[in-house]
């Protein structure tokens, strides 16, 4: 219990500081866990309480993601979303996978690193677009829909990775059946759900919490991973009143997710036998590989490499989903590598997102200057 209280207190301080400087908090939560955990003399240790909180954090993160995936919200410019999504997926998965495999990870480990390497932080990308007042830029639409695309790919990853040795067909039939049942419940019980959400006593928040937990624990009986179950619940609930559900689930998500980040940091061990070359190479490549995919997207979608630079700046940061993959499927070495990658990319990302405008203007004036010099007299 003491560990949890120390962690929460540290997080309040960190949240205050990072909000003041408007920088992302996630890398600092992880760093706090690293510094106060194994590396810092074990002030924080993982125990049953923190384990439970962390698990809740992950479940509510995925429930939230499901809520955001409204079936009717399919983009009007579907081909652009598809093109940018496929460029992003291919470039980053391939670079991530090849790099991890060549640096000595096993096939499975490389696959998990590549997935974590591919998926940008939706939370950090969207916050940076809002806080840096970039919403009107045409590249912002691309970034926003790219995040939706990545979320969808993540669901497929989670399904594939958690299928394990099961028969894939049976596994997917089960998932589709679960989704169907939840969808039917949400559809036929819509009026009831909305009547509960409209109340102003403790019922809406109690119901939301209970629904998420019940769904997660039901997964044991059905043999479907709980991650899939809570995403499916979110998607089903999104057909009723997603804003109300978001509002009632937010307090849980906010608290549990912060604990999740800190105690993920606690499990990370940079001191014992961490291969700094591997960690550094993956982290740097994570920045470079999004530059490649960003530039390609910029050229293909907006016809401009400068647009690609803007897309890059806002998608460098890896975050919550990379960590979720590390926690769910990663070995300690994989976890440490992903932790370092998240910390480095989110710091570089927040910096680039803030100064991308200056970078773009600098490049434009530089090339104009060059063009003037080259002009024949």
């Amino acid at each position: 219990m003491e560990s949890l209280i120390v962690a929460l207190f540290v997080c309040v301080v960190l949240a205050l500081i990072t909000k003041y400087f408007s920088i992302p908090a996630i890398p600092f939560y992880i760093l706090a866990g690293v510094l106060l955990g194994k590396a810092g003399g074990g002030l924080l240790t993982n125990n049953e309480v923190s384990q439970f909180f962390s698990e809740m954090g992950l479940i509510f993160l995925l429930f939230f993601m499901g809520l955001g995936l409204k079936p009717e919200r399919i983009a009007s410019n579907r081909s652009a979303v598809l093109t940018s999504g496929i460029i992003d997926l291919n470039v980053n998965m391939i670079i991530g996978f090849v790099a991890a495999y060549m640096l000595g990870f096993t096939l499975t480990e490389s696959l998990i690193i590549a997935s974590a390497f591919y998926i940008s932080s939706t939370a950090m990308a969207l916050t940076s677009l809002i806080e840096n007042r970039k919403l009107m830029l045409r590249e912002s639409d691309t970034v926003i829909w790219l995040m939706v695309f990545e979320d969808l790919v993540l669901i497929i990853f989670l399904a594939l990775l958690s299928a394990g040795n099961q028969n894939l067909i049976i596994f997917f039939v089960k998932i589709i059946a679960v989704l169907g049942i939840l969808y039917a419940l949400a559809h036929y019980g819509k009026e009831f759900l909305i009547s509960i959400l409209d109340r102003d006593d403790e019922l809406p928040i109690l119901f939301t919490f209970a629904a998420v937990l019940t769904t997660a624990s039901f997964s044991l009986y059905l043999g479907v991973p709980e991650t899939m179950m809570v995403i499916a619940l979110g998607v089903a609930f999104a057909t009723t009143d997603p804003d109300a559900f978001e509002q009632h689930a937010r307090p849980f998500k906010d608290v549990f997710l912060v604990v999740f980040f800190v105690f993920f940091g606690v499990t990370v061990d940079f001191s014992g036998g961490a291969n700094w070359f591997v960690i550094g190479a993956i982290s740097l490549l994570a920045v470079v590989s999004k530059l490649v995919s960003g530039l390609l997207t910029g050229i293909f979608i907006h016809g401009s490499a400068l647009s690609g630079l803007e897309i890059w700046a806002n998608t460098i940061a890896r975050g919550e989903f990379s960590i979720a993959l590390a926690v769910l499927y990663g070995s300690p070495v994989v976890g440490t590598t992903i932790a370092a990658m998240v910390i480095l990319t989110s710091i570089v990302g927040s910096f680039m997102a803030k100064y991308s405008g200056i970078l773009r203007r600098g490049l434009v004036s530089h090339s104009r200057h060059k063009a003037l010099l080259r002009r024949p007299h």
Partner: protein, 164 residues
Amino acid sequence: MSAMALRSLNLPGVGTKYEFETDKGDTVAIFFTKTGGIQMYTLQKGCRTPSAAEMSPVEARRLGNILTGAIIEADQESVEIAFSALADLRITIHTFFIPAAVVGKTIEELQIRAKTGATVIAVCRHDRNIINPPPTFVFEKGDAALVIGESDQIKTFEREIMVN
């Protein structure tokens, strides 16, 4: 798409976007973000970088009032109400920002009622409203006064109290 068409768009995870192009080719975009703020962007025709302003809901409503014309002048507004049943009584309510000359004086000292016939019915101070201020009420810097009276009385008020 016609120039005036207003597009509204739901951006997943971000909020709602409203955008339209003016007849002259400038673009205005408003975003109601999930974080509770309202961002307004304007992009001049032929320009590449938009300029942005972030507002709280209260500030946005204020801007909305200005744009819809509810506020007549830039910072001072006036509403005239006609009561046809009461021999066509016309009452004007006007807001005034307190000038430096009035700061530190009371309503009694200024002889507002005697000189002008108008009445100060409310004062807005630091976004808080003081309804029906007593004669001993002292004006401070930044106050906005809501004055009620017939349109002539309001004009006198403006001439006698605000200008001097």
